[in-house]
Structure formats: structure tokens, C-alpha cells
């Protein structure tokens, strides 16, 4: 435990832990010292000098070492001749801090004036106007007239694209380096830097492509002026016109807490639309950050022109038809659920299926969820608490692409002293922060994991760890492979289950995959065979769009009922279509990969002619003579809690609870934490540990391909052509073409160079792709991105046919 220090700030006594910075101590007693360069998530740099205050310390007699006393017996305080920065000084016993004195105020005012002298003062057209720390402070303390010659201001470029997502206005930049430091210290992508020096200092990027980081959007939140703006929101709206709607990002298993900013717009008939996504603080999940996929792609599908909707009569008719088909099917009903559905949707769909004795499966190619459900993280766990003595193992996962905020959290844990072991068949961005990097050949995953408990440093880091968290993913693997890896990984932690901060985490491909497993729904491993001659009810799943083979298989079903938010290849071939709602239009809960259940709130009114999935399921059930809760997701959760042991303690009320979080964000002083939102709507709750012994299966090794065969393995790219991603206009450049990566040696064998268009053939079907190089990929292996129009669910032999561009449908 750190020692407690007592000091006085503006006549208020404060007790804080040793090592606390004066600025933070002040914050804790409600004294807001203005800052620009300081950010509570980063080490102080003392550059902007905005936080100048008077600091005095008790005087000590040099000879005796005794405190010098005033006449009244109080300790004599010696003030420094110069003002000091509150952000770089740590507290000490008996310190006296004065922030409101004339001298301190004058110092702050002088700095503010200098900052403004080269600032364009274009607040009326600035995106930050209305939520700008510089603007706010100026209104409060600044003078309304400049003593400087406006014409002599330094003029600089405005609207410079740093990358395809972020723009900089050089005139507005105040050189606080928050963006640069965030990228370097927090994101670990040091792709922003200062160029030149002195008054010519500019923020630049030399990465290819520009500002090459999936965390770039966060820099716009912590930029204390309007220098950095996103392509998504620039000139989109004025901050004061916006309302805040809390939600959970639906793009990956991390479950970042977000706030959607909404406003009424004429172009949508006066209805509310989402204008941007910002992080909402949850220090145990995403802190105050989010990734660019969640920010720039996470919600646009709400407004997609391909949204499905039905008028009331159609809806009723289609429900009736679906009901009839399901009744007629009896046990020949196959329900296939996508993993972006909420727990409530899944529960109702599962109940409906059980009611008619059909079969329910999830649409996924990743296994091991029985294990994560029983060996996963539980109450009291927090990746942010891992540090010295703890070990984190990441197997077969490229977290930077699969779950970026976990990448960031694990990097931070490693920097706090946790032992991070990254085992993968190729380089990932996390390697740089790992204590140990274990490289293996695709196919050797299980063998490798089994070998990690040897008598070496890695072995002892794993077996002797105070806490051990194991992440496994699907890099280069299909269902069987991940299932085997999960079993091997589970063996490492089987003696620790149920202990907080110990557990197995699946790096799933969807937001609620964990919820699917927790509710006992398993993936269909042989979908094509399953659907033949059956009545198939697909919810939030588009097999026809993903794979020509599955499309063919669906054609052989007896009937297809397709329920989704957007038109898909599957809805196009369905007998009956039902129009669902996006995660932004409704309530519900997701279970994150860390087994944290979190609430979605409705951000915008639902599109006309759509219903929430759980409600549709309840209506169909009703048509089949089964009564389910269809009105309120809260009531559905009550039912879940009643029957599912792990959910027993989950209630909407508890999910909405918040406890105090540090750093404080979201108050008027946006200069402190940035524009991320304070969480007032709930931090969520971990699922309980239910002792539920699972026998680990005898793991076999995934077969490897022969030496002379080139084989393709599936990998996840953050930005893909997923149903909810594709509608984001800003991303089209990034996702328009599938890029396959291979070792230059492999490429050479086929006479290929970077950027070549090739035709590859997988399972007899040809696809177009662009060639990319990656030296860390073994020769003879080609990385094929998932959800990019190429159907690949597991490692498969591939033919590289030609380097001629071929024309295939779609993009």
C-alpha cells in the first residue's frame, strides 16, 4: 500500500496516495486546474505550461532538520520563486498548493494568451466548437482582445489528411503532443511525430498508409482543440445539437462501452440519426478508448439503404407463414443463429426451437466455447489489474486485428510487468511487447501449447504465475483447430478456474459469441448437410453470401426463413423474410469475451417496419402455440436468470450500476480526460463461475499439408466486408479488395509481386485477390482474410491460378 500524503489545496485538506500528481490531487477535491498537455492516462510532460500554480513546501532548518515554525506554531511554508506546473509535481506532506491566487491566475492567463496567438479562432466553423477545452478556458479566463497583430499570425495548412480517417488543421494545433504520445505510449503505434522544431513544429506521419493505426480515432477525443477531426464527423454536426445514447459496440468480443451521438435530421424525416460514436468510460473494459472499426464502422449499417422493412400487414403475414412452416417442419426445423444477436434474442430463439423440438445451432467456425463458459473469467477479473507476477498467454490470435482493445490492454499489462507470451504462426503487432514470442508452424498449435509447461522460463512463468489468463483465437484455424487449441489451453489453467483474473478467453469473431456458448448453443459443424430438406430459420446469418457451397445447400432446403437487418444473399433466396433491428435501435445485452454481460440501450428510434429479434421470435412462437416474453428484453433476462445458472445473478438493474471511476471524464473540463463519455448507465456484471467440470478432450493435431502443396489459412482483418461493416462509406477503400498475404519466397515461386491481382481456387471455386507480402508467413502458406468474399472456414489447399485480373461478381 502506498503511503498517504496530506496536503492543502486552496485551503482544502486532501489525503492522497504517495506519488499522486498535484493536478490529480486537486481534481479529487473538485479543483480543476487547467491542463492541455497533461492527460491522466499518460505520463506528464509539462510542455504546455497551462497548469501553473503556486506551490509551497514546509521549511526545514538545515542544521537541525526540524521544521521551521511560524509565530503561531504552524509550519512555515516556503513558496518557490517561480510558478510550478501542477502536472509534473507530485504531492508531499504539508505541501500548500494555491491555484486561485492572482499570481497563479496571471500565469495561466499568460500561457493561454500565447496559445491563442497563433490559433485561428475559427470556432464558428470548427468541429470542436462547443466542446473545446481551449474555447471554454478562453471564455472563462481569456481576454477578448488580442494584443498581437492578427496579420502577423503564423499561417499554416488547414485540412491536411493524416490518413484516410483523420485530418489535421495545423493552425489549430497547440503542439501538446497528446496525439503523438497516445499513439506511442498507449496504442504502441508510434506513427505520429513532430517534424521541425520551435514555432515550426508540426504533427506528421510518415507511415504507409498514413496514420497507420487502428486506434487513430482516439486522438481526436483527447486533442484539446479542434486540430484533429475524423472523416466520419467533420462538418457533420455541432456538438451542442447532439444527444447522447449509451450503447455497446457490436463489432468484436471486447464489448467496448460507447456513446452514440444522435440528432434529428431533415434528411431522415426529422428522425434521429447517429452522427458519431465515442468511447464511454469503463475502466475494466475499454477504459476511455475504442478502436476505429467500432468508431467508424460500428453504426453506419443502421442507416443503410438496404435495410429490410415490412409493413404491418406483411409482417403479420410473414410471421404467420414462418409459424406455419415451423409447425409443418416439426423436428425437421433447423435454426441457425448469428453471434451478433443479444442474449435475449438467443434465449427466445432457443426456447422456440425447444418448443417444437427442432435443432438450434450457431453460425460460427470457432470452437472451444464450452470451455470458455466454464473456465472463463469471472467476477473480480480486470485485465487492467494484471501486472508483476501475472502471466498472459495469447495463442493463435492477432489481437490487433481481432480485438484491438484487448491488444491495447495486454500491451499495458506487459508494460506494468506482467509476463506476456505470444504464440503464433506469424508475426503480430503484440510481439513487440511480449516477454516471450513463440513461433510455430500452422498445424503445430496443440503440440506447441502442450510444450509450454516445460522447465524453462516460459514454463515457470505459466505454472508459477500469480494469475494466468489465456487468450486463444482463430488465426489460421477452423472449427476443429480452435477446438483443439482451446482444449490444450484449458489444460494450462484447469487448476485455477473460478479464481478472479484467471481463465480462458476466446477471441471470438462476434460481439456475443460468448453469450451463444453460455446459453448452450453450439456451432453447426456441417451446415451443408444439416439443412438439406429441412425448414431452415436463419437469424443474423448469411451463409449464402459467405459461401457458394452453402448457397447451394440452402437451395436444397425445404424452406428458408431469413431474419436480418439488411438484405443479404440469404434473405434474397428466402421463402419468408423478417426485418430485424440493429443493435442501435433496441435494448438487450451482450456477453463479452471476458464474460461480462453489458446492456445495450436504444440510441435511435427503430426503423419503421422492423422488430427486435427476440420479439419476432416470440411472435413466431406464438403462432406455433408457444408463449414467450416478447415485449421487454428486461423480462426476457428475468427468465434467463431463472433457468440459466450462470445468469442467475444477472438483472438489468445491476447491469446499470456504476461505481466511481478514475480518471474523471465527461465533466465541463474536457481538457482533462478528453471527450469520451462518463459512464452513468452501467458497467455490466461478470457471469458467475459455475463449477461445471468439463472433461478436456484428448487433443489431436490438426493435419498439416504436404510439402509441395500451397495451403490457405483463414485470418481475421479488422476491417472486412462483414454485413455490419460494409455499409460504412468511409471504409470502402480499405475493404474493397481481398488481400492475400504470403512469404516473398512463395510469391517468387509463382512469379508474383506486391499488388498483383491473382485468381485463387479454393474448394473448386475461383476468387480474385491482391497479393501482399509478409516475411513472417511460412513459405507455402497463404493468408486469406475472412469475410472478404472468399469462402474459407479452415486451412485448405489452394491453387494460385493466374496473375490475370479476373472478373467476379460483387466487389
Amino acid at each position: 500500500m502506498a503511503k498517504t500524503i496530506t496536503l492543502t489545496i486552496d485551503n482544502t485538506k486532501v489525503s492522497v496516495p504517495e506519488g499522486t500528481l498535484v493536478v490529480d490531487a486537486a481534481k479529487k477535491v473538485g479543483v480543476d486546474i487547467p491542463v492541455f498537455c497533461y492527460h491522466p492516462k499518460m505520463e506528464p510532460v509539462g510542455m504546455c505550461r497551462q497548469c501553473l500554480v503556486e506551490i509551497g513546501r514546509p521549511m526545514f532548518d538545515r542544521a537541525t532538520g526540524q521544521p521551521v515554525l511560524e509565530a503561531d506554531g504552524s509550519p512555515k511554508i516556503q513558496f518557490m520563486p517561480k510558478l510550478e506546473t501542477a502536472c509534473t509535481n507530485t504531492v508531499s506532506d504539508g505541501m500548500v498548493v494555491l491555484t486561485e491566487t492572482e499570481r497563479a491566475k496571471a500565469g495561466q492567463k499568460e500561457i493561454l494568451e500565447l496559445l491563442l496567438t497563433n490559433h485561428p479562432l475559427d470556432c464558428p466553423i470548427c468541429d470542436k466548437g462547443g466542446e473545446c477545452p481551449l474555447q471554454n478556458l478562453t471564455l472563462e479566463h481569456g481576454s477578448d482582445q488580442s494584443r498581437f497583430n492578427f496579420a502577423d499570425k503564423q499561417h499554416q495548412e488547414k485540412n491536411v489528411a493524416l490518413g484516410d480517417m483523420i485530418f489535421i488543421d495545423r493552425e489549430r494545433c497547440i503542439q501538446c503532443a497528446r496525439c503523438i504520445r497516445f499513439q506511442d505510449k498507449i496504442a504502441g503505434d508510434a506513427v505520429l511525430g513532430f517534424y521541425q522544431r520551435g514555432r515550426n513544429t508540426d504533427v506528421v506521419t510518415f507511415s504507409e498508409p498514413g496514420f497507420d493505426s487502428v486506434f487513430s480515432g482516439n486522438t481526436t477525443d483527447i486533442c484539446p482543440v479542434g486540430a484533429l477531426t475524423t472523416v466520419d464527423f467533420r462538418f457533420g454536426a455541432r456538438p451542442w445539437e447532439l444527444k447522447n445514447a449509451p450503447s455497446i459496440c457490436s463489432q468484436c468480443p471486447v464489448g467496448c462501452n460507447v456513446t452514440y451521438n444522435v440528432r434529428r435530421e431533415a434528411k431522415s424525416g426529422g428522425g434521429y440519426v447517429i452522427k458519431r460514436a465515442l468511447p464511454r468510460q469503463n475502466e475494466q473494459v475499454n477504459e476511455i478508448w475504442m478502436c476505429d472499426k467500432g468508431r467508424f464502422a460500428g453504426y453506419h449499417y443502421t442507416e443503410s439503404p438496404s435495410r429490410l422493412h415490412l409493413d404491418d400487414a406483411e409482417f403479420a403475414a410473414n410471421i404467420k407463414k414462418a409459424g406455419e412452416l415451423i409447425i409443418s417442419a416439426k423436428s425437421d426445423l433447423v435454426v441457425l443463429v448469428g453471434e451478433r444477436l443479444t442474449n435475449e434474442d438467443l434465449f427466445n430463439l432457443k426456447s422456440l426451437t425447444a418448443g417444437v423440438k427442432g435443432q438450434i445451432y450457431s453460425y460460427s467456425n470457432m470452437g472451444g466455447g464450452e470451455l470458455t463458459a466454464s473456465y472463463g473469467l469471472t467476477s473480480g477479473s480486470d485485465l487492467g489489474a494484471l501486472g508483476k507476477g501475472d502471466t498472459i498467454l495469447v495463442v493463435s490470435s492477432d489481437l490487433y486485428n481481432e480485438a484491438p482493445i484487448w491488444h491495447l490492454r495486454l500491451k499495458a499489462a506487459a508494460q506494468r510487468g506482467a509476463t506476456l507470451i505470444v504464440a503464433n504462426a506469424r508475426d503480430t503487432k503484440l510481439d513487440k511487447f511480449a516477454s516471450f514470442v513463440v513461433r510455430f508452424a500452422y498445424g503445430d498449435e496443440v503440440q506447441t501449447v502442450n510444450g509450454l509447461t516445460g522447465k524453462d522460463k516460459i514454463g515457470s512463468a505459466i505454472t508459477e504465475a500469480k494469475n494466468l489468463v489465456v487468450f486463444y483465437g482463430s488465426d489460421g484455424l477452423g472449427f476443429d483447430g480452435t477446438n483443439e487449441v482451446a482444449n490444450a489451453c484449458a489444460a494450462l489453467i484447469k487448476n485455477r478456474v473460478g479464481k478472479p483474473n484467471n481463465g480462458l478467453v476466446g477471441v471470438w469473431q462476434s460481439a456475443n459469441s460468448q453469450g451463444v456458448w453460455e446459453l448452450g448453443i453450439k456451432p453447426a459443424t456441417n451446415l451443408a448437410d444439416l439443412v438439406k430438406g429441412k425448414v431452415v430459420y436463419l437469424v443474423a446469418a448469411d451463409p449464402a453470401g459467405d459461401s457458394p457451397a452453402l448457397s447451394e445447400a440452402l437451395a436444397s432446403a425445404k424452406a428458408v426463413i431469413a431474419q436480418d437487418v439488411l438484405e443479404t444473399a440469404t434473405t434474397a433466396m428466402a421463402t419468408v423474410v423478417l426485418a430485424a433491428q440493429t443493435h442501435t435501435e433496441r435494448e438487450g445485452t451482450f456477453t463479452s469475451g471476458e464474460r461480462r454481460v453489458q446492456r445495450l440501450y436504444q440510441a435511435v428510434p427503430a426503423h419503421k417496419g422492423t422488430k427486435a429479434d427476440f420479439a419476432i421470435a416470440a411472435e413466431i412462437a406464438h403462432a406455433c402455440g408457444i408463449e414467450l416474453e416478447g415485449k421487454s428484453p428486461m423480462l426476457v433476462m428475468k427468465k434467463i436468470a431463472a433457468v440459466e445458472k450462470t445468469f442467475a445473478k444477472i438483472s438489468y438493474g445491476d447491469l446499470a450500476k456504476v461505481t466511481e471511476q478514475w480518471p474523471e471524464v465527461g465533466k465541463g473540463d474536457l481538457y482533462f480526460g478528453g471527450s469520451s463519455y462518463k459512464n452513468t448507465q452501467g458497467l455490466g456484471t461478470h457471469l458467475a463461475y459455475v463449477s461445471n467440470f468439463i472433461k478436456l478432450s484428448e487433443v489431436k493435431t490438426t493435419p498439416r499439408f504436404g510439402e509441395d502443396v500451397v495451403f490457405a489459412v483463414p485470418v481475421t482483418k479488422l476491417f472486412d466486408q462483414g454485413t455490419t461493416v460494409k455499409p460504412a462509406q468511409n471504409l470502402q477503400d480499405r475493404i474493397s479488395q481481398a488481400r492475400i498475404a504470403m512469404n516473398p519466397a512463395t510469391a517468387e515461386k509463382f512469379g508474383l509481386v506486391v499488388g498483383d491481382s491473382v485468381e485463387i481456387k479454393l474448394d473448386g471455386i475461383a476468387y480474385a485477390a491482391i497479393v501482399k507480402m509478409d516475411r513472417s508467413v511460412a513459405t507455402g502458406v497463404v493468408l486469406v482474410p475472412r469475410s472478404f468474399g472468399i469462402s474459407i472456414t479452415k486451412p485448405s489447399a489452394v491453387e494460385i491460378l493466374s496473375k490475370q485480373p479476373i472478373h467476379v461478381g460483387g466487389n
Binding site: 506528464p44 510532460v45 509539462g46 510542455m47 504546455c48 505550461r49 497551462q50 501553473l52 520563486p81 517561480k82 510558478l83 509534473t88 500565469g107 499568460e110 500561457i111 494568451e113 500565447l114 496559445l115 496567438t117 497563433n118 494584443r147 498581437f148 497583430n149 502577423d152 503564423q154 497547440i174 503542439q175 513532430f194 521541425q196 522544431r197 520551435g198 514555432r199 515550426n200 513544429t201
Partner: protein
């Protein structure tokens, strides 16, 4: 008088390692390493009262004793950035008396238990780097550097590192950043380099001239050293004399020598029968001392030491004395100094970065004859706005000439804004 630092003036070939050895070279180092404890070396230097010659005048031995003894390794870094306008003494020492300088670096290393020392040279000193590398090689061959010095278990490696054109790298923490391969921008203090320095380890940073004093102090002792200079400013100082004097150059004098002796005896007086108008005793960073008929004798009789120069409203700093004669106007002078500081401001902190931008803007306007009385007031106020609020001393330095010129030479400015 015998020279202790500019010894090449007495022994022309002192830069030949053999000549250096014949004249007692490396004896101090040998004595220290073989028969003295590191602490004894530190104590001797402390007792000598040697103060840092890089500008701040901080007692050298005291600085060394701040290094914690439970964190290792320790480093010694020699500041050979020498970029203050008007300073060119370290260059002459390194070019002409390199072995004494390197012996001094080695002594400092031994005193603080460092096995590695860095010499950070300004980028323009490429020729000095190449020369020192050669000298280091010769010392290694002679057993005065390298493994097992003088048969003891003490190993020492010296390395030179070349900057690339940035005055701020003379600031000690910026210098460390630069060696670490980063932009040369000052660090926040505390922690001080003595605790968290180069590569995060305890580090001593000393100026070239400071270190060059060490062989004599170790050889002849603190008591001897204190016979030179004044009580509070003991020893000798190499003064770089430049500007409007007949014989500019480096002069090694005892601390406490008067300006008169420096300028008129050694410097040969002012050319063309002109008068001294201003003195900048610490390069471009100085407050300008006004010299006119009424102050002439007081200024000229002022002893140049850390205390007395302060008494006449300036600082001794690195003793880079720039003489300005009465043919120059002070608006021109500060136009030059502000130009320098604006160019060299690293840009890390607001007051220095933006303050110098505006100071230059206003000074230029005044100098070009477009200024007004209001500009003078504004200039004064901006200088105050910058002073005392910056991350490092460069910001303060940039205001010294400006504030003092406005205050002490008002007629030059009044003339300009009226015209």
C-alpha cells in the same frame, strides 16, 4: 602566467601523447585509479570548490555526490555541445589539449564509478570528433583507457557522440535525449539526471572545461586550486572574448580578473577608438551590461566571478564575453539574439515557442522602423510572460537581452519608434 587549461600556449605539442606524458600526463588518473578511492577523488574536487563551467556554476563535487549508490550502471556525459553564441573555449581545449581533457573525463568516470563515458559534441564539431576518436585510440593503446587500467580491475570506455545542429542539446536533459536517439528536447525535472539520466541510469553531466580542471586538482590538491581565483569562485576560467575588440580569442584567467584587464590588457581594447557600449558576459543569453561614462569604471573594475557579475545585473555563465561598441544600436543586437532563440527554441513548451515567435515579430518591426511605443510595451510584457514559465532555461535565456536592453538602453528604442 602558467596555463592550466590552455596548456598548448605553454607547450605547443601537448597534443602529442608522448609530450603530454613527459609533462606528467595521465599521472593523476593513475594516482586516482591505483591509490585513491573514488570517494576520495570526489572529496578532493568538492574541497577544491570547482564550479561547473558550462554556465550554471554548480559545485562539481557536490553534483557527483547526488548519484545513488544502489542503482547501476552510472554514466558520465561530457557536454561538448558548445553552442552559446560567443562561446568557443571548449573547442580550443579539445583541439589543442585533448589528452588533459580526456584524462579529466576519465577521472570523473572513476570518481562516480562509471565504466562508460560519453562525449556529446555539437554536430558541427565533426573534425573534433574524429580527432578525439583518434586520441581515445592512442590512450587505449597507452593503457590510459580500456580494460584493467593501470593493472587494477577498473575498466573504462569513452565514446564520442555527434549532435546535428541544435543549441538546445547543450541543455543537459535534451542532450541525454539526443544520445538516446530522440529529438533533443528537455525532460521534465525531477527526476534529475543524477538519479534518472542516460538510459534511465544515474548520470553526471559536466562541461568540457570543468573536466579539464580535474587532472590538476587531483595532482596538486584542493588547497592549491583554491589559491587561484576567489574564495567563492576558485580556480581559472577560459574566457571567450568576442565582438568589438582588437584581439578576440580565448583567455585563461583567474576567476575574479576584472573586465578591464580582459578587455584592455588581453583583448587589446576596442577597434577604431570606439567606446564600449554594452557587455554580454554570458553570450547571447546575457543581460546586457550598460557601459557609459558614468558606469565605465564600476563595470571595468568588476571582478569576473559568479558573484560580482551578478551584482552588476548580469551573470557570468560560461564567460563568453561579447563586447558591443557604440556603433551599434541595441534594437539591432536584440534582433540578432531573438533571431537566434526563435531558431533554437525546441518548441516543446508554449511560452518559449510562441513567445519567441512574437518577440521576433515585434523586434523586427521595431528594428525596421515600423514599431510604435505600444510595441515596446508589448515586447517588454511578452518577455516577462516568457521568463520564469518555461520547461527549461532556454526560454529564460531568450528574454535576458531583450528585457535588459529595453530597460537599460531606452534611448536606442525611443529613437527607433519615433523615426
Amino acid at each position: 602566467m602558467e596555463h592550466f587549461l590552455l596548456r598548448h600556449l605553454d607547450i605547443a605539442d601537448i597534443n602529442d601523447i608522448n609530450i603530454y606524458k613527459q609533462n606528467g600526463g595521465f599521472e593523476s588518473l593513475k594516482k586516482a585509479v591505483t591509490i585513491m578511492q573514488p570517494q576520495q577523488v570526489t572529496d578532493e574536487v568538492k574541497a577544491s570548490g570547482l564550479r561547473g563551467r558550462g554556465g550554471a556554476g554548480f559545485p562539481t563535487g557536490v553534483k557527483w555526490s547526488f548519484l545513488p549508490n544502489n542503482i547501476w550502471p552510472h554514466y558520465v556525459v561530457c557536454n561538448a555541445d558548445e553552442s552559446e553564441p560567443g562561446t568557443f573555449k571548449d573547442r580550443e581545449i579539445m583541439e589543442r589539449n585533448p589528452f588533459q581533457f580526456l584524462e579529466g573525463v576519465a577521472l570523473a568516470c572513476y570518481a562516480v564509478g562509471a565504466n562508460e563515458g560519453y562525449i556529446y559534441l555539437r554536430g558541427e564539431f565533426l573534425h573534433v570528433q574524429e580527432y578525439l576518436d583518434k586520441c581515445i585510440g592512442e590512450m587505449e593503446a597507452a593503457g590510459a583507457l580500456g580494460e584493467k587500467l593501470f593493472g587494477t580491475s577498473y575498466n573504462l570506455k569513452l565514446k564520442t557522440h555527434l549532435g546535428a545542429g541544435a543549441y538546445i542539446c547543450g541543455e543537459e536533459t535534451a542532450l541525454l535525449e539526443s544520445i538516446e536517439g530522440k529529438r533533443g528536447q528537455p525532460r521534465v525535472r525531477p527526476p534529475f539526471p543524477a538519479v534518472v539520466g542516460l538510459y534511465g541510469k544515474p548520470t553526471v553531466i559536466n562541461n568540457v572545461e570543468t573536466l579539464t580542471n580535474l587532472p590538476f586538482i587531483v595532482e596538486k590538491g584542493a588547497a592549491w586550486y583554491r589559491t587561484l581565483g576567489t574564495e567563492k569562485s576558485p580556480g581559472v576560467k577560459v574566457i571567450s572574448l568576442s565582438g568589438n575588440v582588437n584581439k578576440p580569442g580565448n583567455y585563461e584567467l583567474q576567476l575574479g580578473t576584472t573586465f578591464r584587464e580582459l578587455i584592455y590588457t588581453h583583448g587589446g581594447g576596442i577597434p577604431d577608438g570606439r567606446k564600449v557600449k554594452g557587455i554580454m558576459p554570458a553570450g547571447a543569453s546575457s543581460s546586457i551590461i550598460r557601459v557609459d561614462d558614468s558606469t565605465f569604471d564600476t563595470v571595468m573594475d568588476t571582478p569576473m566571478d559568479y558573484e560580482n557579475v551578478q551584482n552588476i545585473g548580469s551573470l557570468l555563465g560560461s564567460a563568453s564575453v561579447i563586447i558591443i561598441d557604440d556603433s551599434h544600436d541595441m534594437d539591432w543586437v536584440i534582433n540578432k539574439t531573438v533571431h537566434f532563440f526563435k531558431h533554437e527554441s525546441c518548441g516543446k513548451c508554449t511560452p518559449c515557442r510562441d513567445g519567441n515567435y512574437w518577440m521576433l515579430n515585434i523586434v523586427e518591426r521595431i528594428h525596421e522602423g515600423h514599431g510604435s511605443q505600444k510595441d515596446l510595451t508589448l515586447l517588454k510584457s511578452v518577455a516577462n510572460q516568457v521568463n520564469g514559465k518555461c520547461l527549461c532555461a532556454l526560454g529564460d535565456f531568450s528574454t535576458m537581452a531583450v528585457s535588459s536592453a529595453l530597460e537599460r538602453f531606452p534611448e536606442d528604442f525611443d529613437k527607433k519608434v519615433k523615426a
